[in-house]
Amino acid sequence: MSQLERVQEELEALEAIFMDDISIIYNERGCVDLVKSVIFPSTANEVDKQYVCVTLEVKLPEDYPDSKPIIALKSPRGLDDSTIDHLHNEIQKKCDEYLGQPVIYELIELIRENLTESNLPTCQCAVCLYGFSDGDSFTKTQCFHYFHNYCLANHLIITGKHFKEEQEKLPAWKRSTKAFQATCPVCRDAIYCDVDELKTALPPRELDDAQKFEVTHDLKVLQQKMQQLFNYQKSKGGIIDIEAEENKLLLITNSNDSQVADDSVDPGPSLANNIAPPLSNGLQTRHQRHYSKYTSNR
């Protein structure tokens, strides 16, 4: 069998299996230029549940199948870069394995299996930039873009409101006769959604989880240490009650006693390392702490 016949036979078989799901593009010389197929995960014909897809483009070199076809994956939807890279690797392995034999059917099946396994968008919501977790309610638009229902609802409500406001500003004869048309935030294609239903969705989990602030063990320990320090300072008169102090007279003694500087070297309890020496009188603390710093620098 000649090369051309082998290729022809493979393509006929593909057309018989995939029918309209595959398109074969011929060049002006009548040779096969490109084999193209949009691949979806298998979901027992439930189109609503197909959340990802990719377009496979196979270019056949003249001596195919004795040399490897050139593969391109285009318009991936709901798939992030790492998933695509993984798919590319798998495809190359398959091509090596099937060198000299028809491989296109195998490739389509390989991709379909992979998509079926990861039939949950691995990309991020373009609105909040967070991913999709289990339990998040999200929408796949007709143009295969993904949004949390919560985010999409906000978008639709605000653009709808904006449209109305802009219309009201215009004189009657200039107003658009068309009703508001919601568009996809990513590609601006028209989308048709029920805002009232979307509105009921909870915020995305990742967004919500990130907001939660938990008191960890470390924080509790830190809190306890600070409390101890506070009590220590208070017992030594280091904490000043501003209201009580306001009615007192402030007396500053300017004694040049070097003892003050030495005192500050004694750290006291380990917690109070950075705190001035314990003193009995709160008023003096302020003055002397300042002073001791000054003398120790000299």
Partner: protein, 154 residues
């Protein structure tokens, strides 16, 4: 750490990616943005091989708490306002994605890229024809201007 609104969360995410992986010639004043997430200053270099090569510009982004559903307020600030048919001498920019064509799927990064591209395609450095009049009469906020987008060539 305090509770953050969804818009702050998104801005934080954008700031991180802009610091880690900025488009060529673009850098964000990270310290200022961290202090106040709602106002960023971005330094931009004129692209190589264009009329603006070697020039430095500063862009100011102001966000409302409705971001990303509401577009940011973007103006050129500082001593060097690019001379371009769509940039007024007070820093206001006539660019459709900043008002009518804004979409929440756009980002600070994509706006910066659009502005670099707008500057790059310029063939003749000129101020807009109505510059003097507009600058005298416009609001401080460019989003309050009713822009008329008609020239796609630059």
């Amino acid at each position: 750490m305090t509770d953050m609104s969804p818009s702050e969360r998104r801005l934080q995410k954008e700031l991180m990616s802009l610091i880690k992986d900025p488009p060529p010639g673009v850098s964000v004043d990270a310290e200022q943005a961290e202090q106040n997430l709602l106002q960023w200053t971005i330094h931009m270099e004129g692209a190589l091989g264009t009329l603006y090569e070697g020039e430095q510009f500063q862009l100011q982004f102001k966000f409302s708490n409705k971001y990303p559903f509401d577009s940011p307020e973007v103006t050129f600030v500082g001593s060097n306002i690019p001379i371009h048919p769509h940039v007024y001498s007070n820093g206001h920019i006539c660019l459709s994605i900043l008002t009518d064509d804004w979409s929440p799927a756009l980002s600070v990064q994509s706006v910066c890229l659009s502005i670099v591209s707008m500057l790059s395609s310029c063939k003749d450095k000129q101020r807009p024809p109505d510059n003097t009049f507009y600058v005298k009469t416009c609001s401080k906020n460019p989003k309050k201007t009713k822009w008329w987008y008609h020239d796609d060539s630059v």
